[in-house]
Symmetry: C2
Subunit: 412 residues, 2 copies
């Protein structure tokens, strides 16, 4: 099958799968354990059965389709991604990892017959945290590290309890004494980049070497709310002015530090937020990411000191709280090398890179040798009905996956 | 009467008048034409009649109490302020100008008998724009410059039309051919400072020389919303970073310019305002005030140029719109001199200053020689139940007013 035909077939399958959960307001809204989600898993299971894959759900609803291995039945090479979406998401995020896996398995079976090791495609239950405030429900259950007590009392935005939603969809908690799978020897997740690096550089495939660590903070500044007309500049303790100075320092320090460091102030609120009152309070968030934990620590220390200096100069109180501290996750170097070799061999247009976004792979990598393949996101857009990847890029991603699965599952 | 007795009497009267419109959530909420407002005007009218003042309402509800002049019945010296409040306002803003006028007239009458010219205290209908989005309704009607068509289709926050509220309170529009009063030869408004200058400098009285001009702007910046993890710093068009740089430049330029220039960014909103998205849009307001129109123009031009430079550097679109442009209003120099003379003569603790806030006086000054007297606002607080002025300061303000009214109304 030509590269373009393969890409077009992938695109058709993405549209077909994306029709389950099509949102009248645009894109796909497919939340964990809702009818759209159950429907999507059901049609995937049916599709897998039609192709003679061995189909199995685990307790919480992760769906696996297996091509059985002839020589090493206790060894499995896993690929796939998550089936859930954000509200009004696109048809590539998550879905493409599943579709790429399905097409790769079909191709391998047709071309090379039965593998030596099992190859499985997984459609993971949940990654986004869109319905319930809990992300990575799918991958954490595969590893047996999801905590029942973390979700037991959760309700969604409509007040429906997690437990009720799960049970209605036909699933239940993983029993505490259930055996954790030890057959999975490698995991490769194919995903859209969700950024613009590949497109800008004209590459079709990104081989991920690290998933960044993230630190998230809320920073509060407390000054004094004052009348905008009757308070001379020198009497003011303007919380928004202090916040603005800090934002500038953070962005400029991050830019000066160089890649792959990114720092983002995404959210800001002033109080009372009225045209003619000097802001007495300002609150903003800070998101810092890097592939090296030491850099995260150093950069945090550097800007913390600068924030304190500014707060002192403007005479406002500073309160910083870190509410997320996720370490960077390196991908498995051996699988990364397999991917590089395959890209070279097949003459694919690729580069190595890091992932600035979080993925199921960062969970799985803690236990199972893991790597990721990216394909370009047009204009860097994701989590939007405007997500798009060219069919020829989809195809190159699948070719890289096929090559790697072959090397991992068909050779002794 | 001693200064302290006078101050305490003023405080008692402020509390008495403030009981009309006492808000269960704190302070006074007395909106134009509501029952609390009608009640307050009625008790003031009754109070004036008890003291043998000639009492008169105009068509729209401004209330006047007159001590008639013996020699120049066609000449009136006016004092007073507004009776309406903001929501949960204090008992000093507006009210004190009326109470000071009443106590001054009583004192003058008792001490010196009938004046040569009429002296009137006015309790003006409306200044704050708290119920309907229209300010200075009282003073604009005294001058005959309020426009019927501006309020005719207005409704309050409960949907009650202006016309219905006015008519229910027993008032109506000023008829177009009604004679505009030409007997008012001078107006002196006593008011709380609403800032902290007098208190910091330990002064009891401020003689206002200028009311500042104000320009208000909305500034919109449009960049590109991007994923906080996958968008390298160098690819970003961060609208909030651009806004932060502009805020710093504005505040620093205003501080550097020196008094009486003030510039305030009171309100800021980012979009989408989410921790992990680079802001694609930012909007903020800018309020600039100065006593000299030329400075307002120069400063606007200076920071406009700087804003454009920053927008270009960050590669975001800049849209600036000015939606308020009120010229500075000088007070009448002759009355200012009368006030200075009286403060000197009575050995009052005073300084000359400008008003950074808007007042009825800025409307009236366009037609009638006008000046203002300020008394301190404790901690600079106004528009709050926490408004407070020490009785001894209230008394000094009244003494200055008494002296000026004597000079203007008792001398040929």
């Amino acid at each position: 099958m030509s590269t373009l035909d393969l890409g077009e077939e992938a695109e058709l399958k993405l549209k077909w799968l994306g029709s389950y959960g099509k949102d009248p307001e645009g894109g796909v809204s497919r939340f964990l354990y809702r009818k759209e989600w159950t429907d999507a898993q059901k049609v995937l299971a049916a599709y897998m059965r039609q192709r003679d894959f061995v189909v199995k759900y685990d307790e919480v609803g992760n769906l696996f389709g297996r091509l059985e291995g002839s020589r090493y039945p206790e060894e499995t090479i896993l690929t796939g991604s998550h089936i859930d979406t954000v509200k009004n998401g696109g048809i590539y995020d998550g879905q493409f990892g599943i579709v790429a896996g399905l097409l790769a398995l079909e191709h391998l079976k047709k071309q090379y017959g039965q593998p030596l090791r099992n190859i499985e495609v997984v459609s993971m239950a949940e990654e986004e945290g869109s319905r319930f405030p809990y992300a990575f429900w799918g991958s954490k259950n595969i590893l047996g590290i999801a905590k029942r007590e973390d979700v037991e009392n959760m309700v969604d935005f409509e007040g429906i309890p997690f437990v009720e939603a799960m049970s209605k969809a036909g699933f239940s908690f993983r029993s505490a004494d259930a055996k954790i799978r030890d057959d999975i020897k490698a995991f490769i997740e194919v995903h859209v980049e969700q950024g613009g690096v590949l497109e800008r550089e004209g590459k079709s495939v990104g081989i991920v070497e690290h998933i960044v660590g993230q630190r998230r903070f809320t920073i509060e500044l407390k000054g004094e709310a004052n009348h905008a007309g009757t308070t001379p500049m020198s009497y003011r303790h303007d919380a928004l002015y202090a916040a603005s100075r800090i934002v500038c320092v953070i962005i400029e320090a991050a830019t000066g530090y160089g890649e792959p460091l990114v720092a983002t102030v995404g959210k800001i609120n002033a109080e009372p937020n009225i045209v003619n009152v000097v802001p007495g309070k300002a609150l903003f968030t800070l998101d810092i990411r890097h592939t090296d934990k030491k850099v995260l620590e150093e950069f945090t220390a550097e800007i913390s000191a600068k924030m304190e200096t500014i707060a002192k100069e403007v005479a406002v109180e500073l309160k910083t709280s870190m509410w997320m501290d996720a370490d960077p996750v390196p991908m498995d170097q051996k699988i990364v090398q397999v991917l590089e070799r395959q890209c070279e061999k097949q003459n694919l247009s690729y580069r190595t890179m890091h992932s600035g976004a979080g993925h199921d792979s960062q969970i799985i990598a803690s236990v199972i040798p893991t790597a990721m393949l990216f394909v370009p996101s047009h204009n860097g857009i994701s989590h939007s009905p405007l997500e798009y990847t060219r069919p020829e890029d989809l195809a190159e991603g699948i070719h890289a996956l096929v090559g790697a699965l072959y090397e991992l599952a068909y050779r002794s």
